[in-house]
């Protein structure tokens, strides 16, 4: 009897230990995984799902990077191979290990017409349908890898020095980046030729960032999530039918507090103490 009691106690203790250690491991593992996937400032290949879904979906096979580096157009004149745009995150890159990304200042995306990196994706992390145009053809101009942002204080064009390196490097020249003319009040007789990025066209390929002549690029690509704002449904362009559709299904929000219990006319002209 005592023996079976001992056995039971031992079994309980072992089970408790296993469960406890598993919980400990699970917490450490979850914490670690959650930290390592938090690398928001990373540029993904064309057609990549929004970052959170991308991190789930990417199976880290590297087929996109292999297709990128081995594409026919990626050769020097002597036939030797160039480095590919897409890199696979290694330990020390501080991005989720094994996922593809690119750094424009090293190798930007050259926006191949046939987009070799996307159709090879087996998992759906690179979403091909998002890159199809009306004719159901692959259209790299539909890619939104990021959005170029100009830091006007370090952009020498904003100083009044003539430079249009980014404008000329842009593969969608005259649409993704346009040059706006402005009078230079300092000299009174010169013009500023200012690069302006248009987020409805810019694909985030990074050719402008690579071309920028300043020591640290004054135009650079950030992930869309980090280079855009959101006006929210409080602000609607009343003159724009399309914009009004944003709030078509908006629901009335009723605030309930001490004040809302009265009619507006009851309190608007009275002093209310709070």
């Amino acid at each position: 009897m005592a023996n079976s009691d001992n056995n039971r106690r031992k079994f309980m203790a072992t089970t408790l230990q296993s469960v406890g250690l598993t919980a400990l491991g699970g917490m450490l593992w979850s914490g670690y995984s959650d930290e390592v996937k938090a690398s928001p400032l990373v540029l993904r290949p064309p057609g990549a799902l929004p970052e959170n879904d991308f991190l789930k979906a990417c199976i880290k096979c590297g087929l996109c990077a292999e297709a990128c580096v081995n594409r026919d157009s990626n050769k020097n004149k002597d036939g030797s191979k160039r480095a590919g745009t897409l890199q696979m995150a290694k330990g020390g890159d501080h991005k989720l290990i094994g996922t593809p990304f690119f750094i424009p200042t090293e190798v930007p995306c050259f926006m191949c017409d046939d987009i070799p990196c996307v159709p090879v994706c087996p998992s759906g992390a690179l979403d091909m349908p998002s890159l199809l145009n009306k004719e159901q053809e692959l259209d790299i101009n539909k890619a939104r890898m990021g959005l170029a942002v100009v830091h006007k204080e370090s952009c020498i064009a904003f100083w009044g020095i003539q430079c249009d390196a980014c404008y000329r490097a842009c593969p969608i020249q005259g649409e993704a980046i346009t040059i706006e003319h402005q009078k230079n009040e300092r000299t009174g007789k010169h013009a500023f030729l200012l690069p302006i990025v248009h987020s409805d066209v810019c694909t985030g390929c990074g050719l402008c960032e690579q071309a920028c002549v300043t020591e640290k690029p004054a135009i650079f690509v950030l992930p869309i999530e980090h280079s855009t704002g959101r006006a929210g449904s409080h602000y609607v362009k009343g003159w724009d039918e399309k914009d009004q559709e944003r709030v078509k299904d908006a629901k009335e929000i009723k605030t309930k507090n001490e004040r809302s219990e009265k009619e507006a006319s009851d309190y608007l002209n009275m002093e209310v103490e709070y």
């Binding site: 296993s18 598993t22 491991g25 699970g26 593992w29 979850s30 670690y32 995984s33 959650d34 390592v36 996937k37 959170n52 879904d53 991190l55 789930k56 979906a57 199976i59 880290k60 096979c61 590297g62 087929l63 990077a65 292999e66 580096v69 081995n70 890199q87 696979m88 290694k90 330990g91 020390g92 890159d93 989720l96 290990i97 094994g98 090879v120 994706c121 087996p122 998992s123 759906g124």
Partner: protein, 267 residues
Amino acid sequence: MKNIKYLLLRRITQFTILFLYFGANAFGWHMLEGTFGASRLFGVLPLADPYTVVQVLASGFVLGADVLLGALIITVFYMVVGGRAFCSWVCPINMVTDLANWLRRKLKLDKEEVNYRFLKRRTRYWIMVLGIIVSAIVGVAAFEVLSPITIMQRGIVFGFGAGISVVIAIFLFDLFGVRNGWCGHLCPLGAAYSLIGSKSIIRVEHNHENCTACMDCKVVCPENQVLHMINKSSISVTDGECTNCGRCVDVCNDDALKFSIRSFAKK
């Protein structure tokens, strides 16, 4: 030569597979592209790692049909034919842990009783399940963020970076920590393949009549709990944890172990 026949065959297989993967990136070959997570054989046939696929599904993403088909193909192959052969015939970490084990024997570390008993061989199954749960909680394939297997493979194909430290860590753990610590106790992928391959047809068969009980096989076996029948009865090694590495067949000088097709009739 007889002593290393299967060892040599395994190394050739491992190097060939890794070289094909390497060539897909370096030279644009289309024989075996991708990595273990998902690959393409001869440019058409999809292959995928079933445990990775389960993690991704648990994280809440419905994978593309290619990957699901690939995982099915791999699962069926190891389930029916190979058993846990991935671990000893394909996985690059196997070379690291085999080296650590060999050194361990040469340095006679096990004679010093440095084996830590708290780590049980079934720990890997807990880790395997935990990996799926953590994937669901965090929303990212959890084992893939630290898997030394794919880190080493990607290291070979795309370049190592700081990832080499994980491989070194496994080596040191197996050498100075627990004997067969990684592959035999912790690796959840090995656990998954143990389960998948537990009914496969290629098996090591023991011939009790020839056995002289020298126990060389048990010394060299990375999962020697599966060799419980040695010098006891003439049956096949049916435990899924056997990696079909064939080292026992290699070292047996008495012709008491050989690969054979599992006989279901005997049961």
